[in-house]
Amino acid sequence: MKLRIYPSIGIARLGNGPAKKDDVVFTPEIPWENLYDENLEFYTKNGALKKQAQRFYIYECDENGIPIKKLDPSTCNIEWTVEVANKKPFWYDFNNSLDLSLQTKNQNLSPNFHKNEIAPGISTSRRNPNVLNQTLINSGDTNYRKELVNSPKAVSVSNSHKNKMIGGQFPFPLENETDSKIASAIKTTSKRVNLGAIEYDEGTLIFYPGDGISAALNPSDLNTDFADNSNWYDDICDGRVTARVTIGETIYELNNAESAAWIATAPPDYAPQIQPLATMYDLVSGIHIDNYETDFSSIFPVFYRLYRMQWVNLSDFLSPSFRETIDQIIEKGEFKLLFNNSNEAKPLREKIFNLFRDPLYNYNNEPIIPSKSITDITNIGSGTEDIKYPFYPGDGINYPGSPAQWFAIPPILYEELKKWRDGNFKPLEKDFKDMEDIGKYYREQYLEAAKDTSKSALLMTKAVLETLYGGGFHPGVELTWPMRHKEMYKENTLVYPEVTNNNSLFGLREIRINTASKKEQTEIFYNDFGFQMNSDDVRDSIQPGNPKNWLWKNTPGDLTKWMGIPWQSDAGSCQKVFLDSQYPIPAWWAANLPVDVLTEESLVAMRNTKLVPNTIEYLYANRSPWLMTTDTGYVGYHAEGGYLNGLINMVYKWKNIGVVAARKAHVDGIPETVYVASESKNVKNKTTVFLGKAYPNKKVTLPPPNIFYSNTREMIWIPLGKEAYLSSNSEGTGEVYVDDVLELQINGKTILNIDFSDGCSGKITPTSPINITSFLEAYSNSFVNIEINYIDNCGGAESSSEFYLIFK
């Protein structure tokens, strides 16, 4: 029997909430699982941004390593070990992606990058260049640069020791030293920089990320650059997750590249239900394009993701936009032509195909994105061609006029799109009315596949990689350009070509990071390329047997070392990119770092039943800058909307910015489910009073009318000047119902009697949260006793939702 850890690559996201499993969100274990959930809450009751934790499992696998089922923890002893590090201050500045000049067979990159040098890699020098490796310059014996790697010892948990912190420091004292020499030299001491925590939970491992604390060693140093700030540290990390499993007398060590897993922490995903346009899974699949049998499921995801960007980016909401294109074909009654391979549908397919930019990147003449070195001469003769989809900057952003200034969907997606254009794909047979309809259908496919215990393991890895941005890399949000190369992986094979019958969705892959063995790690952990690193180093390193090949043998810290430091700088600055033209305005990674959002406050305003439809439309179309949802330099007395101000304030404001989440709209004339940004401050001024439990559907036993559930709450304070709602969740957003009647009494007097059966019509109609402010007015500023009764009026069955009274 073989054992392997899944997901093989995990992701945890920073939050300032507690590292407690009841108060975090978990990384989805099934792709698309969370897309439509209207009840997710991303802030804790105290208003802290919840951490996103990753859970790992051990699977029994067959001789070929194909997972069979989860290992039953009651049959064995499991000790989990995690070793992580943060190498960012030790590594190199980010100028651009250093693989852009390579000649490789990598199908993720257009040959034009090498052949026509459309966006050459720019050489880079070290972060913290003043910290030296003395062994090189004066035959001293200290490599001070080692202190720049925050590398706490591996920590382990098991049934007997369930919780451990991963305590780290910056600078990190050298081996056998208690104090940091760098810190002493500037008359300070090392700072505690914890990299996370782990928990043993009934055989599984939970990895909790750090608290999101970034700072400079010298407190007055400001973070003025988007990616490179010497003296700074943050609590991002990555590293290996291993396990020792004892079954009877046999010990299994899950500590090599085939069996162990890798964890990386990343900034928060501020729109967890909106998927990146191109994902890391696309890139990993696209390194070498397997010959897929094309069905509509290999086309739809890119359409769908682009369509849903309307919730996070104005350019994808207004016109021209892909959303508008879809609106138009629905209006014409042609929606089904989208997934139809007939000749009749060909003109439409051709039209849509031509909207997308070719990742081959032949020179064209799209508008340029001006360089940050401003001159008046920005656009002579440029921008004669229409801008293509998507409106996002790409890897070549540094070079005005380079076709790679714009992001193109990865070749693997573009190739499928070509087949679709030509009608070479299996159509969808059912009738679907809109994009969300199809989205829900494919989500069902993933949920169906997850019932297969073998597929469930591979789905976990896919679910992780689908939430990560797959470009443009400048440097990116979570992980960056090395991830698109085959050298990063020990294993990258297609195990199941289809997720379910006739729905490939690019299949399910076994993906394992190419990790250094423990022995190799001791030799290469502190390797770098000296004062400068350039494209030649990367070119050499991918040659097997080349001395620089160590670059691809991953040790803790190696996946995240390329990212900006502190992470908040990049997250706060990568917003809109202004061009000479005023529309559309491109933006960076809006699916994880939104740009323009519909706020929860707008939604609440739209629910006002006195509004006329026109006003609702205006409110709906009014999108606010995401960063305005907190005051990163936009709100307040000294309101400064400047770029630097944004970088600097983000270091502490990141935990208050709105998270875009699905909510039931309860407004006529707009989509039923909307994605709105709600901030931590929205969580605070809210009081929730439990009234009654959810009553499971049961057959009626007593003749109606009969009170089948009753609960009394004593001495409840009714505040003055607050809105009061009945809701089935503590957030005030859940639909309520009773089969059949809800009765509410205050101090023994019935104030509310709602018949959800509509006079025993045979149908129970749940309703949106009920505003009962007017019924409580007479009691405001007093203590009352509240009695809630669920009444069966019609016989048959009885049931109810939960009931909370919310004041906000």
Partner: protein
């Protein structure tokens, strides 16, 4: 009517005793003087009492009807706040905050058939081997014969009064109780005790919206009348650290009074009767022992009653019951003296 044990009082002690006796196969009747809508007080029982409840097989029903609490904080005539975290306890690492009405309702479902309501007690005859008690309700008189009669009427001590046993007060502490809406002030564990110039007070979270602030003052204290009005509280508590911050800035709230002194009847048991709960020994609430005392009394009483009935009344209740409780009360008074001597409260 005939029963083994006749219990007067349908509070926590009375119902609990009836439940415990039922476990032992002993019949009982509870006399209930009718519905009284008592205000919720959010009583707490500490982890040590949970062990006792577990032995009695009643832990589940208590847990169902209460919420967990993990400690308390106090500032007792000192500059520092003492943090008592139940996590350091060995068996149970939490206490319970009771919803007393709900708990009584649940306990009652175990013994529904044994409860009789009445208006007044007309007569008690303890001189026979099986004492007789006559009650009157609206229409008729009823006489109940039992082996033993229990006073479970709390500080009212109805049975004891009727048979002429005097109560002895050991202090004259009076509680001023006020319900206030929760404000921004955070109270760790939801419970805090703090001393001030004229006495001491507690703040206790009752539910999602409401707190109870209770101030304990000696009746003989010259300022005690001022506490009757909420508008004086800001001034009276101005030297406190936490209590004053729990008072809402605006609004007036009703203040209620309640006796909260330490007291004990001259006798706790006789030939064929005994008292339990507050009727037996009533503590000053600083010990927050009210419910725990009721549970302990009921356990002890149920054991003694079982013996009494099995051994046909040969057992001496005074020796086996009264002396044990009296000793506990003595120890409590001793501890209380020590605690009160540490402060400069003007009694």
């Amino acid at each position: 009517m005939k029963t083994d044990v006749l219990i007067i009082g349908k509070g926590i002690s009375g119902i609990l005793l009836s439940v415990l006796l039922k476990q032992k196969g002993i019949n009982s009747i509870i006399l209930d003087k009718g519905h009284k809508n008592a205000l919720p007080l959010s009583e707490t029982i500490p982890p040590s009492t949970l062990t006792l409840l577990n032995q009695l097989g009643l832990l589940a029903i208590f847990e169902e009807t209460s919420s967990k609490t993990y400690g308390y904080q106090s500032k007792w005539n000192s500059e520092t706040i003492l943090d008592q975290n139940f996590f350091n306890n060995s068996t149970y690492k939490y206490g319970l905050k009771l919803n007393k009405q709900l708990l009584l309702k649940q306990l009652e479902t175990l013994i529904t058939k044994n409860i009789i309501t009445y208006d007044v007690i007309k007569d008690i005859n303890l001189n026979q081997k099986t004492p007789l008690l006559t009650i009157k309700d609206k229409t008729k008189n009823d006489t109940i014969e039992s082996n033993i009669i229990i006073d479970a009427t709390g500080r009212n001590r109805i049975l004891l009064k009727q048979i002429g046993i005097p109560s002895i007060d050991y202090d004259d502490t009076f509680a001023f109780i006020c319900y206030v809406p929760k404000n921004e002030q955070y109270v760790k564990y939801g419970f805090f005790t703090e001393t001030f110039d004229n006495g001491w007070g507690t703040v206790s979270n009752l539910n999602e919206t409401t707190r109870i602030i209770t101030l304990y003052v000696s009746k003989s204290n010259m300022h005690s009348n001022s506490f009757k009005l909420y508008k004086n509280w800001h001034q009276m508590l101005s030297n406190t650290q936490i209590l004053k911050k729990c008072l809402p800035n605006e609004g007036f709230f009703k203040v209620m009074g309640k006796k909260a002194n330490s007291s004990k009847p001259l006798h706790i048991a006789g030939k064929n009767w005994l008292a339990i709960g507050d009727a037996a020994i009533a503590f000053d609430p600083v010990s927050s022992h009210g419910i725990s005392n009721a549970i302990f009394c009921c356990k002890k009483a149920s054991e003694i009653i079982e013996k009494y009935i099995r051994e046909e009344s040969s057992i001496n209740l005074k020796e086996h019951y009264e002396d044990v409780l009296s000793m506990i009360f003595k120890e409590y008074l001793f501890q209380k003296e020590k605690l009160y001597n540490k402060q400069t409260i003007m009694y």
